[in-house]
Amino acid sequence: MQAGLVALSGVCVALALAPTVLAEPLERATTVVSGIADGAPITTDGVYLQLSGIQAGLSPLLLATGLAVMMIAALAVVRRSRVRRTTRGIPAWGCGRTVQTARMEYTATSFAEPLQRVFDDVLHPEIDVDVDHHTESRHYVQAIRYRLHTRDAFEHRLYLPLLAVARRWGDGARRIQNGSIHRYLAYSLFTLIIVLLVSR
């Protein structure tokens, strides 16, 4: 699985650095599809990219080079000043405690939670927090369970209704074509009459 990810990200990086490679094939494709062929939308000399419609240019290769140069410069400054100071490995800062468990690591669900909250009108997450406590006092908690279920908005609002419509169509179609030769002959007859009436 990782090999696939690495390959894909490699392609992304390569394209980001040299998008000019794809510029020409894309151009031909758009010409074919749109039928518009009034000059190339992108011109390139290998390093710079220029849009022809408006004045806009870019050079990903030079940007990447610039970034690398700046990083090396920053590293040089840091390295020079670190001559007398060694790097020391140390446990992550835990507010004075030493024990860090896996439960204290940030989770993907949590990472997405703020965005989910922001768009809760769209996503409609269903959240349940069950708290078990002693019968005598609710302040003695025994267990807490959290459940989160987010229904896919696209699935529920678009795909499922579309599927339902398609199914209704299908059901209707099934009633129309039930395998009877007589009925098909009747359809043909009616169609013929309609065609004749229209073409008259």
Partner: protein, 315 residues
Amino acid sequence: MSVSGIAVALLQVALTIAVAPVLVGLMRKIRARLEGRIGPPISQPWRDLRKLLGKQRLVSANTGWVFSLAPLVLIASAALVAAIVPFLSTRSALDQVGDLFAVVYLLLLGTVFLSLAGLDAGTAFGGMGASRAMTITAIAEPTVLVAIFALSVSSGSSNLGAIVSSTLANPSTAASPQSLLAFAALAVVTIAETGRLPVDNPSAHLELTMIHEAMILEYSGPDLALLELAAHLRLVVFLGLLANLFVPWGIATTVQPLHLLGAAAAVLVKITVLAAIIAVVEVFIAKLRLFRVPELLAASFVLAFLAVTVSFFLA
């Protein structure tokens, strides 16, 4: 790409690095004065950086290469943007290297790496900061794109040099509705992305409320110096971008040293005024509840969207 153009670009980087910490010092000074305090000297951030460079570098266990790389990426991206953005002259060598979109995404690259670094140490605070930063960025991004689009439409280009030249040629566009709306939208995004009030509080130190600082809690010594400097740089770059995109007057259209000197003075004045306004306003406002921040950003998106609409009608 001319030699003089490269010289201008390098000059911009050097100037930004020299000015950024002082500007932050000035903002702290203004806040202190309004609070009735004397406050640290304006050069204090420089002193802090110098000391940090001489300190031990601690590397937290369980961190990987992202932890070491992030400060470099953050400072390099900010410095590169400082080279591209027309602070001094419209004839910067790098103008054709990156347009406004490229600049915004370079800054975003820094944000992303900082968030990754926050996650890398595997601590709760780092992850929390990263999640908050990404939430804010995710909502701020559309605003940036739409606002840039509005500017590009009215000037016929997404290249910074061209936008600035266009405004210089037609001064009335600076006061046009689309320009003002786009300015307002980008200003809100600037506040959010540089971690100022009311989005993040640069002067409070409470683990559970921090956004920017939560991600850099694990850093020390030279790494921290880079991160702090990068944060200062990003502030100056954002402010410089705002200043010269919307009020470009004073910028040189040549690369003559005398013109550049004048341009440097002009851009410094503009940035200082903007920074002072932010510092003063920050005293009067409080930090928004975390889930009110998206509302603020949504408002900025509406402004940006209006800017685009208006620019099409007035084009």
